[in-house]
Symmetry: C2
Subunit: 349 residues, 2 copies
């Protein structure tokens, strides 16, 4: 079961034309893995003909409905009980699959994951944790948009969840955890961040302190913790910046005959450069804090990108990410209760 991934084949901008070939490609690279293709049987079953070599390792599980990319999460949760997104999550819930992947509507996936898989004790809603390139490798950053107005305790929980994810996926004993903050001399962050810093210091995590915005891409930490508002804005701003630079680079190289020739000569180098930061390579954000594994792929993912999201789901399941997070959070909450009890004891002797 930990080697089985359930895939919402109908989600994303491209549906089965991307998700199914990605599943086949993934299986061919991972002989120990199995995949359940979830979606409309009439669409999916004929596609199996393209992969006779994978017989026995891939099967179709019917789901009659599809969540639209622009559907309201609340309505999708209420009305789409037979959607491929929901049925894939059900398979994880029932223990038939170890993880699920969807390129569908983020809000709906968040709501359904929370409803079907349930949250771990003490966690309110899933944190969205993508992996991003840095100068020194990559970084897990959370939360990227689900939790606005976080408490210090939530930021601590993000630290724990991110560290367990990094430790499981990258096989690091004690991944370093940084707290996203500003570096003004006078005022070091807002009240919540200051409190979170104190909590992280005594958490037993490998907490390296504050990290400023530029530290994200300098690779100063393996895990970076921030609230969902800051995280989302930072990620989107980075995407916008890269698009602006790429657009202008293209424009400069397209200016005249000489620059076009230069582009031709520089092309292999530019391609390698592009490959190094290819966002497709980093596709697949983890929804953390759930009692099961749910991975969100970009809606516009192509076959290569979606394959990476499947790989991340598989790695998370086969490395017991949920168990690790759950155990560590339980410890944390037990300690907190103990402290609270002590405080209450002190106040009323």
């Amino acid at each position: 079961m930990p080697y089985t991934v359930a895939i919402d084949c109908m989600g994303g901008d491209h549906g089965p034309s991307v998700t199914v070939p990605a599943a086949f490609a993934f299986l061919r690279g991972h002989p120990e893995a199995e995949i359940i293709l979830v979606g409309q049987e009439a669409v999916l079953t004929p596609l199996l003909a393209a992969a006779p070599d994978l017989a026995g390792r891939v099967r179709v599980h019917h789901a009659s409905e599809v969540v639209a990319m622009d559907e309201s999460p609340t309505l999708a949760l209420k009305n789409k009980k037979n959607s491929s997104m929901r049925v894939a999550l059900n398979l994880v819930k029932e223990g038939v699959a170890g993880a699920s992947v969807s390129a569908g509507n983020t809000g709906a996936l968040m709501a359904m994951s929370r409803f079907v898989l349930k949250m771990l004790p003490g966690i309110d809603r899933p944190a969205l944790c993508p992996v991003m390139p840095t100068l020194r490798g990559h970084v897990y950053m959370l939360d990227l948009g689900a939790n606005i107005d976080c408490s210090a305790e939530q930021l601590l929980e993000f630290g724990v969840m991110g560290a367990m994810l990094a430790s499981a996926l990258d096989h690091k004993e004690a991944p370093s955890v940084g707290l996203l903050n500003i570096g003004s001399e006078e005022i070091k962050g807002n009240e919540v961040v200051k409190q979170a810093s104190e909590l992280l210091k005594t958490s037993g995590l490998n907490f390296i302190g504050n990290v400023e915005g530029d530290g994200i891409y300098k690779g100063q930490a393996d895990v970076i913790v921030c609230d969902g508002f800051v995280g989302n804005v930072t990620l989107k701003a980075s995407e916008g910046l890269v698009q602006m630079l790429a657009h202008s680079l293209k424009a400069e190289f397209g200016r005249n005959a000489f620059t076009k020739l230069a582009a031709l000569i520089a092309l292999p180098v530019l391609k390698k450069f592009k490959a190094r930061f290819d966002h497709r390579h980093y596709n697949g954000a983890s929804l953390l804090g759930l009692k099961g594994i749910s991975i969100k792929s970009h809606g516009s993912a192509d076959v290569y990108a979606f394959e990476q999201a499947i790989a991340r789901a598989f790695d998370a399941a086969s490395n017991n990410v949920v168990e690790r997070i759950s155990a560590r959070l339980a410890e944390l909450h037990a300690r907190r209760e103990e402290k609270d009890a002590q405080h209450t004891g002190e106040e009323s002797p």
Copy 2:
């Protein structure tokens, strides 16, 4: 006087070796301008010999002390009353200069500007407003770090101040103002941002609504409003991202003989590309909300970069930025008081 800029010549990583040549370069391009070089006479006066053509338009004003780059803002404020930074601000306060520029310690400049120039009525501390490149030109973004934990009213004030700055410097009738927010379907921003959006809608500004992180660089608005925490993290993350990309591009082009040759051929194009986004061109952040003009240059600015900061100070002074902001804020506060009075009236008839 509006055509006179006072320069803290001793501030920044390079001091007079950058600030003085930058002042000369600026004066040569702006025949209507005058400059007061503030700092140690013994150091500055001999440098005037290099610019006999500017006699009568540039003079030295002695200030015996220097604020160190790593000095505590509080201590600098208390102890460095004769510092070049403070004396330059005094000249603005006294009406001798129309604006001042410093490449010194940000915290100290913020504290001293606030203390010497004083804040406009109703404003608590200066907002730091740099100008940044976008796909379509440039954007003024504030606050970039001075005001953490902002109220909705503060965000509205940022909108007003940024719009007045853009309107004065870019001669735009009604610059568009966007509110930095996240685009999740379920939750659109935190409480403060939601309230700020309501206030901006009825502000009389050309408010275009929410802008997501990528909208900054897409040039979706002339002015983007956010709290200092989000702004600072976003700006720093952008800097880190650009550094990472530049570093990797260099590495790819330096890999072997072929790639080095490609680099040589692509160099003129890459240089043009680089020039388009040259951060030196965007040097000079405005401290807004003060009763005078104080411009912060990057500490590491070179002659070209510092010249841009002087130009921004000159433009702000000669286009009456403070008067415009002051008038619009007064309107805003009058309306708010009127509303509050109405509410009080309603509650206690």
